[in-house]
Symmetry: C2
Subunit: 303 residues, 2 copies
């Protein structure tokens, strides 16, 4: 990226455990983007500022530039703790954490996550995507599903997150595919029919999951099943079990998926097996719209 | 161990993926034991013989010594493939794999595992423990549960394994406790009440497991729950879900647990919550008795 033409009005930052993404923004438009592997998990508190400046320096002019950041950057182990807001709540409250910086060119706002006290649960980052979706769809009433490492299901009504529930499905997929005995049976490739069969299997009998997982390995040893089908089957077993558990969220609801496009498409396919229709919203656009909504909030008089 | 007084009549070997255990035997009694970390997973085919000889050399005299080995040593990637026997079957068939050795002091027999074609499943090593248990309890009719990395449930009748089912529970426990986001919330310690609550929780609602797993983390973040209770809860959630899936095996049955004493006690406690009573048999004794049963088989005329 070159310097002079990309001064930003403000800077949007999505700072997760393993990645840092930043965008130079003018109004609601991203005019430049930069990423680094300096995720929260790698950094000491004192290292966040320089990790950010290294990435966004070309976008900084002489005026103090507002920065809005969401994600694990606001965790206790992050740059500055942005204490969770309890649901029911709007996804964004005008109550951002403000780390002190030595570089006076930036003015950093860190967005708090949401917490749920009964049925303990937490999110950090997804609240911003929800806010972004709601900024574009202010009258939405229904369920947002945010598939990922820790998939979130959130019940939305009257602009508020009423309740939510996290499933560790994505993390389980990664661990089982890469670290368990199934790593010998799983490789790239895909098989839609195997995925759909597996989804309906654990959706109706979620209690058999730990046995069905091992059966992928046994089937491969005995019948030399295709490694791509094995991957689809693992994914289907885990997503099917999740849908069984998340049924109170999606059954009979208006469902929108916000996440990685491929993964969202899998969830949509899985939901279709239950005649549940869903729409897919772009994850990055939702994040940017949410960070922009946060920026606009800070300009409004606080109540 | 010292050499001269420990010549073995025969040698018993339990050779798993990550460990190698050997016993110098006289009749059915172990007179010496040795272990090494030369598990099957670490060895090339050409390295098995020397790994074994290094361990058992002090027990070898001038006569050719029979060696009976069970476990992953008989897998395709092991020393010599001992093809699975299909159930229904007695746990041991007189059909051992015989690797060639350069050292003429040993005569090695590798015990085949069992396979199930309908509802694909496999075991290697547990068939020997089952044979050992049945040698001491020839009229047993009921269910054997062998808790471990890959817990096996086996339906036994008239001296045969009729069917079996593997649950990846132990492996999931290890991965989730050590490699997932829950590793921050889990440490040594224990809480019986948390274990029992978690067991009954997933036994009745197994579909919520991936959410209940994340709730361990969220609860710890929000309520600073005890890390020992978190460990008990993780164990209980996984074992409870397994018992839900294995119900066709244990419900109304005569149940014997063969495995690590602590883990078997957890399964017994979990089963008790459902008024299912079980007994615990010693795992090592079962292995040695099974290897001894294999040795006796080779002396009988083949039919």
């Amino acid at each position: 990226m070159s310097g002079s033409s990309t001064y930003a009005d403000w800077i949007a930052v999505d700072w997760g455990t393993s990645n840092l993404r930043a965008w130079a923004m003018r109004g609601s438009d991203a005019i430049a983007e930069a990423t680094s592997d300096k995720g929260m998990g790698l950094l000491e508190k004192s290292e966040f500022e320089s990790a950010l400046i290294t990435l966004i320096d070309p976008w900084l002019g002489t005026a103090r530039t507002p920065v809005f950041a969401c994600g694990m950057v606001g965790a206790r182990q992050g740059w500055v703790e942005a204490p969770y807001t309890a649901v029911p709540s709007k996804p964004l409250a005008n109550r951002f954490a403000r780390p002190e910086t030595t570089d006076s060119r930036i003015d950093v706002h860190v967005i708090p996550g949401l917490k749920q006290l009964e049925n303990p649960d937490v999110m950090r980052g997804e609240e911003t995507q929800i806010a972004g979706f709601l900024a574009a769809n202010p009258n939405f009433d229904g369920v947002l599903c945010l598939p990922g490492t820790h998939t979130k299901w959130a019940h939305i009504s009257a602009g508020e997150v009423i309740s939510f529930r996290t499933f560790m499905t994505g993390e389980l997929f990664g661990l089982i595919a890469k670290k368990s005995v199934l790593r010998h049976s799983i490789a790239n490739g895909w098989n839609d029919a195997a995925f759909i069969t597996a989804v309906t299997d654990t959706l109706s009998r979620p209690e058999t999951m730990a046995a069905k997982l091992f059966a992928i390995r046994a089937d491969q040893l005995l019948n030399a099943t295709d490694v791509g089908a094995a991957k689809a089957r693992l994914s289907g077993l885990l997503i099917g079990a999740e849908l069984a558990g998340a049924k109170p969220y999606w059954l009979g609801q208006n469902i929108v998926l916000i996440g990685d496009a491929n993964l969202s498409a899998l969830y949509a396919t899985a939901l279709e097996t239950q005649a549940a229709l869903s729409q897919i919203a772009d994850a990055t656009q939702s994040t940017l719209a949410g960070l922009n909504a946060a920026r606009i909030l800070t300009k409004e008089p606080t109540s």
